[in-house]
Subunit: 375 residues, 2 copies
Amino acid sequence: MKRFKSVKGGVTAARGFLAAGVEAGIKPGRPDLALLVAEKPAAVAGLFTSNRIQAAPVRLCRDRLRGGRATAVIVNAGCANACTGKQGAKDAELMGRLTAQALGVDPKTVFVCSTGTIGVKMPMDKIAAGIPKAVRALSGKGGPRAVRAIMTTDTVAKEAAVELRVGGRPVRVGGMAKGAGMIEPNMATMLAFVTTDARVAPTALQQCLREAVAESFNRITVDGDQSTNDTILLLASGAAGNAALSLRHRDWGRFCEAVKAVCYELAMKIVEDGEGATKFVTITVRGARTDAEAHLAARAIARSFLVKTSWYGGDPNWGRVIDAVGYSGADVREERVDIRYDAIRVVRNGQKAENVALRELEKVIANGASRSTWI
Amino acid sequence: MKRFKSVKGGVTAARGFLAAGVEAGIKPGRPDLALLVAEKPAAVAGLFTSNRIQAAPVRLCRDRLRGGRATAVIVNAGCANACTGKQGAKDAELMGRLTAQALGVDPKTVFVCSTGTIGVKMPMDKIAAGIPKAVRALSGKGGPRAVRAIMTTDTVAKEAAVELRVGGRPVRVGGMAKGAGMIEPNMATMLAFVTTDARVAPTALQQCLREAVAESFNRITVDGDQSTNDTILLLASGAAGNAALSLRHRDWGRFCEAVKAVCYELAMKIVEDGEGATKFVTITVRGARTDAEAHLAARAIARSFLVKTSWYGGDPNWGRVIDAVGYSGADVREERVDIRYDAIRVVRNGQKAENVALRELEKVIANGASRSTWI
């Protein structure tokens, strides 16, 4: 994030967006219904869980994404609307239609997301009463209130926004996310909404989102369980008035970096707020033949119960790290493996390193930093 | 196991085998060196960890398996001889050679196994002093002492043996195993040794072992981590005097069932003794298109952190079960999923079942039994 100027406002940091977060009574006493609105139809990109069991709103969003335009996203917490059968599909559709009616927009441009308990029917009376309330509360400074309404087991609100220049004009990218459990690459019980006032061609927008997610949300893991509701939507309002960005634009790379920076910061906030998490560990793999193999190795280490328990117990057990690399599927050569915890090398060429500074190592483990390198 | 007559004796239940377990001082005050000897060269089959990081003795055993004959297996606890480089390979070779010298057999027929801490050099002075001690202690009733010498974090000794008739003659299959942590299909920090006095053609023996392991050791999981040392060896002495068993023998299927029964009982004992385990859960998948898909679904459920924590917390959270099935890779159709905990159906056709007996359900969860069904 250091490469971009941070700004406030979350999903309403970018021009052309309004947001609200209200109490609909699904989770008594807490905001539980969020609404994000584009003042004019925005270009939209989206990515969804790869779980075969998909919540009704995920199927609805996937379908509406084909239209390429979004005017609103309505999100509830407290009920996932997953494993709810045909009624669930009807409820998601109705939730979108009621929002469209209240806003006076085309229902096909309204996206619907839910997060919460699986297998419970949607409290549609509360949703129906909450939607007009959310519409009345819409504000160009509503981002920080909207993010509070999508929290479930989250303990902190997760927002990020940056500013950059595209074609000489100031452009903003901002976002909000929720997620604390069922967190695993290829997303999570994770909802994330990113907005930008840049004008971007829809196909380019989808590619930008895919790349940003690959290097942010798809690289985190908390509990290894991939949820039924994961959704990330990226809306581009064009309110910045720049000439439309596409893959050949000279600022394209910079813009994509900004989207990735926002996704990365949101992803890090999800890990920091992981259910029951006591430590935040980053795994760096160097010298892999391919990115995919590096990813396999890192993921095996990150998911390992035994590696997790050794961190939790304050015991730097590198045998468990090298064991995980061995079964990761990466093409590892034992005699070339080095393992470091921060700067402290504990394994050299596949064997225990000499003269390890154990005191320093204990401090690293206590703090929760890590680097694992293999070649 | 009910289909076979249980007998005592573990690896020495079958005729033609001697065993010993002695204190070599690797783990002070506890037996830590086991020796299994075939009175005459036995046919041998073996399977090993698929981890890319393999302990030196695993590489040695894999190599010697090509000879098809075994006279002895020497096993130490307390040191895994993994990630020990060239010295580790030399140590494993020496451990076999010293055993061969003490027994007066061909070193190429001596198998070597180690279990314990990764990355620590073998205490060869203790091993060298322990081997003659083990040879002196060899006995046809040594199985129960040998099993105690291969335990690491195990809290109970794991043995099983059965008797059946092959070609009208009584034949025995017996075994011992160790393993409590790093337990995952495609084996585990698991060592298992199975013996039989049946005469079996070597290639048939390998096939028999592969099938038995596929439906026993490869279907258990404790912590999801696959170790560097997993080894299972099956030795057939031929002392029963039967006509050699091969795939066309009419008692072949029955014999393989007996090997599987012994492997299954040993595998169950490993799970029951899992490090930190508080519950023993069996997952049954019905109606899958293929065995492989059933296996994927069962494994995703079994490995899920969230499913494990819901069992631990006494909370029958079926949303986590169906979520795991969804990302398992199995070709699941949500609208056909049923989930039962024992006889109590909680999900019907992908949705919450009506009138669930919650009191009964809590009892099932408290006891740790489970059945998950999907079509």
